[in-house]
Point group: C2
Chain length 427, copies 2
């Protein structure tokens, strides 16, 4: 029996909704918030009181613009806390500190090599990025409300199988264990697909949408899936592995050990293979991944590059049509560094291939664009996950130990995931 949500779960969802409305909207009156969230005026008022006591909401002046009497404008108090989002990608580590209003206040990048096989090397790079980002933010670690660590998805636990992840994929669990004692607490972990899903729900094209898909394009590829406004986790927290769906039966070998996967065509190594097919020995083939992609963008007039982009756009459009056929989303969004670099070059032919290939009604009213959330989409999503986790556990502490000094509440236990609410993939 699927449980109906309990009143405390509904209240947690309402709190997240209200904070999201303020974080996105900047300022709002209580009436605006009631309208934006569908909550009653009384509920909004109670939640605002709680969040103000926690230092997360502050006054932002008086609204005289309406027809009625002047009312107080509210805003998230950025000084009320900080959040740390970490993006462990295959070619770089990025750490970003946000204030409580989700404004970036410090960031740092450290390059890594996808061929590194040492957990310690990666862990050191993560800690270096975090330390630099914290220093640049000017905040102390005890200002952090929480941290989110985005780790590449693990599609296999079998070390003999190379997963849809870098050479150090099988060390992901080691990496998390190795990092946890050195990172701020509470720490939530998730894969980049769930992180970009949360970014899009808060700040991107999935805002206010029921069903949306955000496709992450980089070395690996995958999809963040939003259904009924929430990011889908799946039975084993592995939803969204669209990169390992079949594009071509018995097709190109994929680094996951199987054949014909979408990733083997539209992941960066796949695009490199296409250029190799088109023009063996092409100059760009000698470059490292990020330089290779940048080179493609700059050499779009080169016939071999143009042919490569044309084939890639077709592969991408056909692969996207599969997820459109199954989920029939309202919006489909591309994100990730490959999408930001090549999206404008790929989009026209990708849209055409998608329209041609998808069952017509499933794509009839579909918008396909590159996400407006750039550079920090994974880090932002991880900070959002950490923030949601903070809001929920803070509320739990209120319910179970009312009127306790907040600083004295040791938030170490993650509440059991509610079936109907998005939850961090807690480590």
């Amino acid at each position: 029996m699927t449980r109906t949500r309990s009143s405390s779960e509904i209240r947690d969802a309402s709190r997240r909704e209200l904070v999201r409305a303020l974080a996105v909207g900047g300022t709002a009156t209580r009436t605006d918030l009631a309208r934006a969230t569908g909550l009653s005026a009384a509920t909004v008022s109670n939640l605002v009181t709680e969040l103000r006591e926690d230092g997360l909401i502050a006054d932002a002046g008086i609204d005289n613009g309406g027809a009625g009497r002047p009312t107080t404008l509210l805003r998230i108090d950025g000084a009320g806390g900080a959040l740390l989002g970490i993006d462990v990608a295959e070619t770089y580590i990025r750490a970003v500190v946000f204030d409580a209003a989700l404004a970036e206040i410090g960031a740092a990048n450290v390059d890594v090599d996808e061929a590194w096989a040492s957990t310690d090397l990666i862990a050191d790079a993560v800690l270096q990025a975090v330390s630099q980002a914290m220093e640049r933010s000017g905040r102390q670690p005890d200002h952090l409300l929480g941290a989110g660590l985005g780790l590449p998805g693990l599609t296999s636990t079998d070390p003999r199988r190379i997963a849809s992840t870098p050479a150090w994929a099988t060390h992901i669990r080691d990496l998390e264990d190795r990092l946890r004692p050195h990172l701020p607490s509470p720490l939530v972990t998730a894969n980049p697909l769930q992180a970009v899903g949360h970014s899009e729900v808060w700040f991107g094209t999935a805002r206010g949408r029921s069903t949306a898909v955000v496709v992450n394009l980089g070395t690996g590829v995958g999809a963040g899936i939003i259904v009924e406004g929430r990011v889908l986790r799946g039975a084993t927290r592995s939803a969204g592995e669209w990169g390992h769906t079949v594009l071509e039966l018995d097709g190109r070998p994929c680094r996951c050990g199987r054949r014909g996967c979408v990733e083997a065509y539209v992941g960066v190594p796949g695009i490199r293979q296409t250029l190799h097919d088109v023009a063996d020995g092409h100059d760009l083939l000698g470059l490292h991944q990020r330089d290779f992609v940048q080179g493609l963008g700059e050499a779009a007039d080169d016939p071999a590059v143009a042919e490569t982009l044309s084939r890639t756009a077709r592969y991408l459009g056909i692969a996207l049509s599969d997820i459109v056929a199954v989920l029939n989303p309202e919006v489909l969004t591309l994100t990730g560094w490959t999408a930001w670099a090549l999206g404008d070059l790929l989009l026209p032919a990708t849209r055409a291939a998608l329209a041609e290939r998808a069952p017509e009604l499933t794509a009839a009213r579909l918008a396909l664009d590159v996400s407006p959330v750039r550079v920090n989409s994974v880090a932002t999503g991880m900070a959002v996950l950490a923030f949601e986790h903070h809001l929920d556990t803070r509320a739990l502490a209120r319910r179970t130990r009312p009127r306790l000094d907040p600083a004295a509440v040791p938030v170490v236990t993650v509440p059991a995931p509610a079936a109907s609410a998005p939850q961090p993939v807690a480590g």
Copy 2:
């Protein structure tokens, strides 16, 4: 902004949940119902009172089994109303009348030919089936709480494109218009994918699951997708068109006009094509669809048939792995007449291909079986949709016109679909 559900939407969901628990469980005390649904004792008590006033819940004796004092057992009162479910498939029409406890009380089948191009022929067959089923049920039309009409999915509105549907696909809208005045009211319509999704949520393997997929195998193929216990509709009510995702880039022509679709390999015409590839001129190729499938099941020892089943199982397993990779469901269920006929022969090799092809973690704890809901899965799902519609509109009538004589309430207006609740695809 994704709206938080209003209290009336939550109450509608609770009412459906409670009726579902009783319909599935047979009998239950109020305490059992509170436990099964997660609703408070007070809410259960109020809902039971309402539903008893409507004649849908009756006493079923006294439970002396518990540790406490004896309590009243409740059941759905089958006599409280009837529901009609209609399955318009490509080779048959089936109408089933259910009592209010969802027990079958009358059914009728009429064979049709997928090549028929006349809306009138199909419409006559539907009305004939309905009339026979009603007669066999012994109920009068005014006993019906509602009816559900399952129509093949329409993947295109362009008549130049043959859709994933029979030859009369482009007449579906005409068919609905033609039938509506002659069928009981209120009438809800949906495609078979959504219908089997509802069947599985109420009576099958999706009961109590958050994420589940039910794959319908017949002439056409598709998937009913359950997320957070609710059947996904999608932006244009077209979710689940897995049959038209790509299995092989530029592969076999599909009757949808594209190439390489899953349906072109595992739909019945696709299986026929495989046998043709294996043994051109094979005797079974001369048979009509349903006889062909029955013949395959009976001739599994024939080497050409064995090879055909083996290839089909592999195609199916690989195609299923795509939906598993994307949705990471808890359970995956096969249904539809091809699944019932060939499921046992296909399952071992299908499971093996799925396990081999799906990203390991997405399939790690996955159960793949043929649905326990047989024969009437679409008709049952349509009756369930009609029942849910009745419960919601009845509740709306209560809210807007309290204490009105139930018989005098003309239930003709469908409430605006709630973003967070499964809704019939109302015509």
